[in-house]
Each structure stands twice: as C-alpha cells, then as structure tokens.
C-alpha cells in the first residue's frame, strides 16, 4: 500500500501540473513559441532523441567528473578546515571568493590555460558544485555534541582521530545534503561548461550547446526538450546521492530510521 502511495502521489502531482500547464496555455492563449505544450515538447524530444542523447552523454560526462571532484575535494577541504579554527578562518573566505566570482570571469582564463573540452568543463562544474558541499560539511563537522568532544579528549584522541572517528561520521548527513544540492546543480555546471568551454563539430555538442542552437533558431519545443533532458540527467545524480544517503545512514540516523516497528 505504502509503496503504491510513494509512486502515486508524485505521479498525481505531475498530472496536476501538466493539467495546469495545458489549462494556462488554453485560457491565456499562450502560443507554442512562448510556452510549448507538454505534448509538443514530448514530440520534439522524440524527434531529436538521437541528438539529445548524444548531447546528454557529452554534458553528463563533464558534469559527473566535476561533481565527483567537488565531492572529494569538498569533503577533504572541509576536513582540513575542521582540523583547526585557524585553517577555517584562513581558507573559508577564499573558498567563498571562488564561489561568488561569476564563472564568466574565470571561464576564459580556464579555457586559455586548459583549452576547450572536457577538462575545462569539469573544472567549471567543479567550481559550481564545490561550495554547497563545503558549507554543509563544515557545518556538520563543527556541530558535534560537546559531550562527545569531551569523550574524545578523555580517550586522548589526537585532532586527526577526532575528525575521522567523530566529526566525519557526524557530518555525514550534512555532507550528503550538500551532495544533494551539488547533484542538482551538476548538470547546470556541465551546461555552463558547455557554453564556455564546450567544443564540437556539426550538430553534436553538449546540452548547453544544443540549447544555444535551438534558442538561436527559435526551436522552442526542442529547447524545452533539451532543458528537460538536462533535468532527467540531474535526477540521475540526485538519485545516486539519495541511494548513498539511505545506504550510509539507514542503521543509525534519525532521518532514515523509522520510529520503531
């Protein structure tokens, strides 16, 4: 029963949204080149499926690499910063600068250094995904119960042991939330990467490239189809993170463990 509900409700909500969409279109007479009907988008997606699939593959590669890099480096950076308040004080502002400087400033420099292509797309995705992970993981690492810290002091744990055995496990749910945010923007990173550093011949660019193509030719249903393709890829990332979340926390965390049965 519960299982059906888990599928039924989002499906129902989806149908409602589609209905509203179609309704708004009808009532306000919005034309297809402003807001295409869901059906038209589906048709466009089917027609362009080969192109979109190839594009998705290109973009998702860069997005995945950047995402994974952000996860690893973000986690490590947070750990290092939790080792000492001085580290944290010295590094955090500059990590913020990295995040807050518009990517359009860095992108050309990156392209000049690394050339267009996958490595640059990866770095751009990385820059976009990095901070949400660091912000969350750091918050988790410093939110440890004071009594636990006392315990670790009493068992003469050094700073590294304290971080590895206490802070990191405690920060796991925070890290995973950061990962969820990063996962949801990884494709945006990939697309931004496409825009600044993608390169292609003929009609086989990444999603970002195809968005520009469709936009330039005012192929609006195709444009939306490309957008939703990106969405679908994004769901892959988020799903992976949710799976990881369940797997890592299932035995002990209040957000997962069902109040007992």
């Amino acid at each position: 029963m519960r299982k059906y509900v888990n599928w039924l409700l989002p499906a129902l909500a989806g149908i409602l949204i589609l209905a509203a969409w179609t309704g708004v279109k009808e009532v306000f007479g919005i034309r297809n080149f402003v807001l295409p009907s869901p059906l038209r988008i589906l048709q466009a997606a089917i027609k362009e499926r080969a192109v979109l699939l190839a594009a998705a593959e290109i973009t998702i590669t860069g997005a995945a690499l950047g995402f994974v890099a952000a996860a690893l480096i973000g986690f490590l950076a947070s750990m290092v910063m939790s080792l000492s308040a001085s580290f944290r004080l010295s590094l955090y502002p500059y990590i913020l600068v990295l995040q807050m400087t518009p990517i359009m400033i860095f992108a050309p420099v990156l392209v000049i250094w690394m050339g267009p292509g996958l490595p640059t797309v990866t770095v751009i995705t990385f820059l976009i995904c990095f901070f949400p992970i660091v912000a969350n993981t750091t918050q988790g690492l410093i939110s440890v119960d004071k009594n636990m810290v006392d315990l670790f002091r009493m068992i003469n744990a050094d700073r590294v042991q304290e971080v590895l055995l206490l802070r990191v496990p405690h920060a796991l749910p925070y890290f995973l939330t950061g990962l969820r945010i990063a996962g949801s923007i990884a494709m945006i990173g990939g697309i931004t990467g496409d825009l600044f550093a993608g390169n292609t011949s003929g009609n086989a660019g990444g999603i970002g490239y195809m968005v520009l193509v469709y936009d330039g030719q005012l192929k609006i249903p195709e444009l939306w189809a490309a957008g939703f393709t990106a969405c679908l890829c994004g769901f892959v990332f988020v799903t992976v993170v949710l799976g990881l979340n369940w797997w890592l926390l299932r035995k002990w965390h209040d957000s997962i463990v069902k109040s007992d049965v």
Binding site: N147, L151, M154, I155, N156, L165, W252, H253
Partner: protein, 258 residues
C-alpha cells in the same frame, strides 16, 4: 596512604564559575593519594560533575590550583578514564565498536582489542547484543556500554559520574564488586560520584560530602572497612551504621525545601 608520597591529585583554594554565572565551586581544598577510592556525594546541582570535569581538564579552573600527578591536569589526561553522567555513545557504532573506541584510538592491535572488548562486554552483561546500535538499547544497557568502554583501558585515575544510577540493584551490586576486583588488580585511584550512600560506603576509602550554593566540601569522611569488601560487608551492622551516619551528614547539608 601507606607512603608519604606527594598526593596524586592536589586541589587548593579552587574556585569555579561558568562564564559570568554564579560561583559553582568555592574554596575547594583536597589532596587525594594514590589508590584512594574517593566518593563524592551531595545534592543535585552542587558541583560534583563539575569537579570531575575540572580534574579531567575538560573545563578550565577559574581560580586556585589543581595538579594531577604533579602535572597540569591536561597533561595528566593520559592517565585518566572518565565515565560520564550521560552514556555518550556514538550512534553510528555498534555496542562492540563503541566499546573498542578508546582501544582503537590508542592503536591497540585488532586481536588484542577484540579480546579486551569481549571481556568487558561480558563483564557488563551485554554478550547478547554485540551488533546492536545505541538506539536499540535500553537506558541501562547504554550506560553499561559506556562503563565497559571506560574499563577497557587501564587508567591510573578513574573518574566515574553516577555510572550505576540507571541500573537495577542486582546489576549494580555485582558491578560494584567487579569494580573493586579490578581495582585490586590495577590499583587505580577513583573519583566516584553517586547518589547512593550505601554504594559510596561500600566502594570508598573516603567520602567527600559536598554542600551546595556554592559547592564546597562539607565533610571529609574516612570509611573504616578494609578491602577486600564482599557482599557480607554490606550486611554487617557497622556498615549500616556508617551508611546512616553519612546519610545524616548528607541530610544536614541538603537545602531545606520551603
């Protein structure tokens, strides 16, 4: 008290307040020798846990001096183990892995570690739940994991903050006896907080009664029974008399409730 050695823990004119709050402990002077078993009793909120935390250097002294084994308490921390008033188990570790934690931290070899752990787990009667997570344990079981964890290292100084408060009398009595057995072997010095006068009398060589507001030493009481002590000790009339005497003292320092 057999040698004229310098005291192991020496506290002089100690005062403690948290931040700008009221004074919690005031004018504490206390010398404790090696292998003494000191119980701290006193009304709730009088500063017993605070005193243990000061000795463990988990909280800074406001004024006065406190040395442990001739060192600053922070440097002496390696010689101590602490059973906290709350169980403080890591929720992501099973019973076994929680008990093993201090051994893991001090890099004891895996084989040795699991041998010690198994022994301690048995001691506290948790053989049947080695893979349980803390959320699956009863309150008393959690506390027992915490006890096993602290006893798995062999400290010179053991700080115990109401370790047996959540246990039934049977388990409590048995663990009392086990504790004394371990003490006979390892010869640790103990600071033991309890609300059970009988327990204090049974375990201790010395009982410190704290008076509240601000916390200060009201009585320093030497328990006259020799070790080893057994279940029979509890039954003896002298024991009962001693308990009654300490209870009376405790009663006299407790704040009258209007």
């Amino acid at each position: 008290m057999d040698t004229p050695n310098p005291p192991l823990v020496s506290i002089a004119a100690l005062q403690k307040r948290y931040g700008q709050g009221a004074v919690v402990l005031d004018g504490i002077n206390l010398d404790v020798n090696k292998e003494e078993f000191v119980s701290l009793i006193g009304p709730s909120g009088c500063g017993k846990s605070t005193l243990l935390k000061l000795i463990a250097s988990l909280s800074p002294v406001t004024s006065g001096t406190l040395t442990v084994d001739g060192m600053s308490p922070k440097n002496a921390r390696e010689e101590m183990a602490f059973i906290f008033q709350e169980a403080t188990l890591l929720p992501w570790r099973t019973v076994t892995r929680n008990i093993e934690l201090p051994l893991e931290v001090s890099k004891v070899a895996a084989a040795k570690r699991s041998e010690i752990c198994a022994r301690m787990r048995h001691l506290v009667g948790l053989d049947h739940v080695p893979e349980h997570y803390p959320r699956q344990l009863s309150g008393g079981m959690k506390m027992r994991v915490s006890i096993a964890r602290a006893l798995s290292v062999s400290p010179k100084i053991l700080l115990l903050d109401e370790p047996f408060g959540a246990l039934d009398e049977m388990t409590r009595d048995r663990l009392n006896e086990e504790l004394l057995a371990i003490r006979a072997q390892q010869k640790f010095t103990a600071f033991f907080v309890t609300h059970s006068v009988a327990e204090a009398v049974f375990l201790s060589s010395r009982i410190i009664v704290l008076a509240p507001n601000p916390g200060r030493i009201a009585h320093d009481f030497t328990v006259p029974f020799p070790y080893p002590r057994t279940a029979e000790t509890r039954e003896s009339p002298e024991f009962q008399r001693c308990v009654a005497e300490v209870s009376r003292i405790l009663r006299s320092v407790s704040p009258a409730h209007p």
